[in-house]
Amino acid sequence: MSTDVATTTLGIDHRKLGMWTFLGSEFLFFGAFVSAYLLYLDTTAGGPGVEIFDIPFTSISSFVLLMSSLTMVLAHHAHTKGDMRRMRMWILATAGQGAVFLGGQVFEFNVFFREGLELSTSPFASSFYVLTGFHGLHVFVGILLLSSLYVLSLTGKIKPNQDVKTEMIGLYWHFVDIIWVVIFTVVYLIPEIAVIG
């Protein structure tokens, strides 16, 4: 079945339309976790609360993830020009930055765990870990997608004239980044000020 834009009713690619449709639903998913987190900001059951955050550290990993969106869009741009070597280079850079971000998350979680914040400590703890955990899972899936993009462009499955595939995965990646833009502010920065001052 041809997904060629010339034969679709709205003149857009099915796959791109499908990805945007899916992303629309993901707001509902993350929104619920963010809301639960905000409702439980003070419900720490005597355990650690937002004072446990290391804002400078998280800022660095947030910055890395943000810049990975740049390399992602450069990868797509290279693809539109048919420059598959450059596209692969930027894809690798994007996945690498994603991995650095995840590494930072894992490190951060370990520190918190040792300082007494476990999944079962309090509603605050559960909502923090599950919200950022699901985001991390989304980043991980994104890294898998990027790696596949890399490998499949080497095997010829992703062809120079098929930049819509890179674009689609880019959309997912940028979305995951956008969610972190929201999480960084709403989970880390604002509570720091609101709770601690």
Partner: protein
Amino acid sequence: MSTTDAPDQTESEGHAHPTPKQYVNIAIVLAVLTALEVSTYFLDFGTIAIPMLVVLMVVKFLYVAGWFMHLKFDSPIFSRLMYTGLAFALVLYAVMAIVTLFDHAPTI
């Protein structure tokens, strides 16, 4: 053969396609905005701190969505799909949060 609202373009890209240089500029803007955000941890902005963070967050969101995700240049249907989902999320969860924050013991 094309029917209803198929626009007159061949592939999914609009005619205005940002250059790598423009993308890098956007990234620099995003970096600066992030630095501003982080500065609230080190400096005391008083009462405007939280509104400022919200505004910065929204601006960053719009830059990534509009430029990196190409919404500014693409078919409006993509924007509608995303913003509908976003609007539903914002409204529904705001109402839920309000109800939860203001709940009392039952009076009936």
